[in-house]
């Protein structure tokens, strides 16, 4: 099958949906400019015109409410933010209006709204360009939250999101934009709310979100190579709805679980996933669940601290060693992902 980058897969989903349905529009700060949101909106202005693909004032909250009103009157807006952090400016419309509007007013409307936002990391992004915040959004009734990891999932999940009658937030990790993988040319949907097993294994389940799947796959390679440990990597893909059945099924098989979240640990998605696993796998688990995530600090810019802030494959391996009570691996010869060697992806 033909290969696309994650970025191209997103662009293709948008392009095909805009072609299929005249009511799909897209906008956001910088959406039609020459940079095209890292290339993910290329050709949309040229193909569909300025009424369907446009730049906006720097007014995140109002432009979110704009999506609500446009959707109430039949449009299908895709609002794009180049960093998730900017969505904090839109929390009123997102949480007081969009998520609850239908429920509070009597479910009169379809609200097919997609909010795409990019999670930054590295090269001094710092505390205001690196948040993911997916647990914030997943906490709120009335929102769906997806975090595609592979190019295949990016196209399929985004297509489903655009066709969904509910608001969907799609969080895209910047480093994944270079990932390549097989992506069908024709349009297809992936059901929102289904997790996916990226690597099958029998000895340990690593449940991961977004970029942490890439780290989990790298950790699985190392654990297999040095200790013949077979790790099962479960990509949650969607935080709301959460596929706790698939996650629990995996843990019932492996009886060990690490949750590797691309976010802070405290009160995070990892806590919710771990609770769900405990509820259904309490007697299956041989050890308590380990949670991995960002250090509990704002993200620093200087490299040496940033490296401490983010967990990676090495973190997962070390936690697996403790959990499975295996001899520590000397990883000195192993390479790990960083923004210096642009990620190309194993997909």
């Amino acid at each position: 099958m033909r290969e696309l980058t994650y970025c191209e897969a997103i662009n293709e989903a948008m392009d095909q949906e805009m072609k299929r349905d005249n009511n799909v529009i897209t906008y956001g700060i910088g959406v039609p400019d020459h940079k095209k949101i890292f290339g993910s909106t290329v050709n949309l202005l040229e193909k569909y015109g300025a009424s369907r693909c446009f730049d906006t004032p720097l007014a995140e909250d109002t432009m979110t409410g704009f999506a609500l009103g446009a959707a109430m009157h039949g449009l299908k807006p895709i609002h794009i933010h180049i960093r998730v952090d900017f969505l904090l400016l839109a929390m009123n419309q997102l949480i007081n209006m969009l998520s609850s509007y239908n429920y509070a007013t009597g479910s009169h409307f379809e609200l097919p709204i997609v909010i795409r936002a990019i999670v930054g990391r590295g090269w001094g992004q710092g505390c205001q360009h690196s948040k993911s915040l997916h647990s914030y959004f997943s906490h709120i009734p009335g929102l769906k939250v997806i975090l595609p990891t592979t190019p295949y999932d990016a196209k399929g999940l985004l297509t489903s999101a655009i066709r969904d009658a509910n608001p969907v937030i799609c969080l895209e990790h910047r480093w994944l934009y270079w990932a390549t993988g097989a992506v069908p040319k024709e349009s297809y949907e992936i059901e929102i709310g289904k997790a996916n097993i990226l690597i099958k294994g029998t000895d340990l389940t690593v449940v991961a979100t977004s970029w942490m799947n890439i780290e989990a796959i790298r950790a699985a390679e190392i654990l297999k190579k040095y200790r013949d440990v077979n790790v099962e990597v479960v990509d949650v893909r969607s935080l709301y709805p959460l596929d706790s059945d698939l996650i629990s099924g995996s843990v019932q098989k492996t009886r060990y679980c690490i949750v590797a979240d691309n976010d802070w640990v405290a009160y995070g998605a990892g806590a919710e996933i771990a609770s769900k696993v405990y509820e259904s796998c309490f007697t299956d688990l041989k050890k308590p669940i380990t949670r991995i995530g960002f250090a509990h600090a704002p993200c620093p810019t200087v490299r040496c601290l940033e490296n401490e802030f983010y967990p990676n494959a090495e973190t997962i391996v070390k936690e697996a060693e403790k959990l499975l009570d295996i001899e520590p691996i000397n990883m000195i010869d192993e390479n790990f992902y960083s923004h210096e060697n642009r990620f190309k992806g194993p997909f």
């Binding site: 432009m63 009103g69 446009a70 109430m72 449009l75 239908n102 007013t105 009658a165």
Partner: protein, 319 residues
Amino acid sequence: MDNETRVQLYNKLYLARRCEDAIVQFYPDDEMRSPMHMSYGQEATAAGVCHALKQMDPIFTSYRTHATYLCKTMECEKFFAELYGKTSGTARGKSGSMHLANPALGHYGASAIVGSQLAPAVGTAYAIKYKKEKLVSCVFFGDGAIDEGTFWESINLAALKEVPIVFVCEDNGFAVHTPSTQRQGFSNIINVLKEFRIRLFEETTGDVESIYETAVEAIGYCRSFQKPVFIKLNCYRYLEHVGINEDFHDDYRDKEEFKKWKERDSLKIQRTRLIDEGIDEENIIKIERQIDLQIENAIKKAKLGIGPKPEELLQGVLI
């Protein structure tokens, strides 16, 4: 103005006023369990503007939406059922007074977060323009909304995108209990807005016909040219911010001002005018009794209606 229009304007005023009289009467029974932000005294803004709109022109409103809801839809059955928390209400009891909506009759909903309805109204106006419909989107808000950042963002966006939207500022001079002089670093928003590509209108009156005529001109321009308009209607809230009582004893506003407005009460003006224009008072009374009956039946039905079942709690979170 023809007498039919005059009577229809009076109908709207009368329906809004008498529905709220009924709320005042029955609220102490504690069966309507919802914070009531009464339109009492301000009905002419809702009546005048709504009468100048077409039925399917969508309106968005603030939580002070009894009059706008009633004048837009001219129905009070779903209205009272909602206030009584019954499944026959606009939101099967889930909205109460502050989130009334009836899109089939052009009411797209109300928000209890000041100013939050402006942005969606601009979004709907954009959809109207995109679909080349002959409608206008209309948003009602109080002067408190002007203080919010989203007001300026919405005004800017509407002017930038040249969308068919009617901004209606119902300026009663107070955000809860705080006068605009303690909140705003300018004396009149109309002067501030002059630089935006928006046509501006202002009225200080309780006379529904005067408001209606202004609204007809503003909305006509908005519809014909697909461009935004802003109507500032200075009005007076008779009752407390939330609740069914007067609050002049709290001393944050001058009762003399209230008396001035009360003398020019919109219902009184319009009723007198109907008689002056030669409409038989018997006929006016007949219309009034019809509306009274409509309200009486609506309340009776609402009281007898059934509330939602427990399993409805999780219905409609996602569709």
